[in-house]
Subunit: 301 residues, 2 copies
């Protein structure tokens, strides 16, 4: 069976009502194009507020029964498809997460994933805002398949993709927010984008599992004025179980783009390249270490 | 400091003397081009005998003090550079490995790596010949850097690259033997090659560590006649710590090709994209499992 999935990449609009209308229109379009799953970028309802550290954005955090999840639930039920994005979750006073929410086509909350790997570098001050997730790597069962939802920085960690695959994920999803420093040279831009595409496609290949990635798009300024802001680079895509593009990344803006994922490709690919059969789980214990100390590195031959 | 490295991809010649002469000429060329490290393909001295199962090739296995290591040692000392390939190691009667050997520029054996992940699919009957390695993932200290040597099928496992990086590897090296079924359609060929390049570049990206890959090249027939043989696809390359090509893969044959690896790029890249800082080693325990059983997969939300 082919499963049609949609990537949505509307740019952030600081006028909330216009922004919601544009996103809703993109979700509606996904459904009218036949998609049963729509992936929105990370923190789709908010500006990317992590460019600087300020107390103000904590006021935008919401509980899981807050208005953002209610709005997503409404769209999922109205248009009858599964929706995935992340919200700024207020779990309790002083405890906040970047939390992926998965809305079932009937509007119910199918599950959560709290971003496990949290970045912190200039322009991406996420460790200030987000407590690292504590739900582990657990796929979420939906009518559109068992979804291994991971978030942005997670995409650089093969461990995260592998853990979702071992737990039975049928699709890997990355709502994400990554961009260029507007002052970066074209060669730097290209190298960063290329690395980002390459490592996500590699998760498909290593795990024989399709990958969906939806990135923010458009320039957002840094409210602190310390940096020139971020030019979110878009280029969301869908890759099949061999890493081949089912939906090519695009440099030009789009609202909604669809691809058909073949349910059987994962099985066929894993039979042809049976990596899961051959993992040396007897020899992987050091994956649970930060690094081996130099004195432990000397080979004994 | 820039370190010049060489990839060698001479096709296998069934005339041993001619084959050795061609390989030696390629090593000599690497040295005259300024390389301090030469990476040869997997099992560089032998035909790829794993296309079928037969007792005959066991007669070609050698101990570590056998003629193959002696020859490599001689070349390393004569030309004054580090050489890496794999041999068919006879460890004792009935116990054989596909073993990477690293010869220091003075001719000494700097270290070993016994291939940990062993493939077994039509045309690659390696589980019949090779006992899985038991030395783990330990980099080898040489005058050309601390080498994380992995072999062929290992290249599909992010775990292997990560373990070498955590143990301090400064370069990841893949001597390899992979090719097309000559009857494969061009689209299949392209997809396989693309997956192979992508996942290896992703190891560079995930670990902020340069990658060298040298593949066999040329058609070798299947002695059993059961398959149309293998068209080894070459396309060896060198990637920098961001996965960018320092030496582009080539569809046309070459004997020796060099690239300059900047010792400082790893440090710079890991500071810019500090993935090692953020690994969730508290949440990776399931990497040591084969797979989670379905009943363990239900999310509790």
């Amino acid at each position: 069976m082919k499963r049609r999935v949609a990537i949505i990449e509307t740019a952030f609009n600081p006028d909330p009502e216009r922004h919601f209308r544009a996103l809703e229109a993109a979700v509606r379009e996904a459904r009218s194009d036949g998609a049963t799953l729509a992936l929105l970028p990370e923190l789709a309802f908010l500006p990317y507020f992590c460019q600087h550290t300020s107390r103000e954005p904590f006021g935008w955090a919401e509980p899981l029964d807050g208005p953002s999840v209610a709005r997503l639930s409404d769209w999922a039920r109205t248009y009858g498809l599964v929706i995935v994005t992340t919200i700024f979750e207020r779990r309790t006073a002083g405890l906040y997460h970047n939390t992926a929410v998965v809305l079932e086509a009937d509007g119910s909350l199918a599950g959560l994933y709290r971003k496990m790997h949290i970045p912190d570098d200039p322009g991406y001050c996420e460790k200030y805002y987000f407590t690292p997730g504590d739900l582990g790597f657990v796929p979420i069962e939906t009518s559109a398949g068992r979804l291994g939802v991971l978030v942005c920085w997670d995409q650089w960690f093969p461990e995260a993709a592998r853990l979702m695959a071992l737990a039975g994920a049928e699709l890997l999803l990355y709502p994400t927010a990554i961009g260029w420093n507007p002052e970066d040279a074209p060669s730097t831009r290209n190298q960063e984008l290329e690395a980002w595409l390459t490592i996500q496609r590699a998760h498909a290949i290593a795990n024989g599992c399709p990958v969906l990635s939806a990135n923010r798009r458009g320039r957002e300024s840094d409210p602190s004025g310390h940096t020139p802001g971020i030019e979110f680079w878009g280029h969301g895509f869908v890759a099949g179980a061999m890493g081949e593009y089912l939906l090519e990344p695009r440099s030009t803006p789009f609202e909604t783009a669809c691809a058909d994922v073949d349910d059987l490709e994962m099985e066929r690919t894993r039979q042809a390249w049976p990596f899961l059969r051959d993992r040396r789980i007897d020899a992987y214990a050091n994956l649970l270490t930060r690094a081996l100390d130099p004195e432990a590195q000397a080979p004994e031959t």
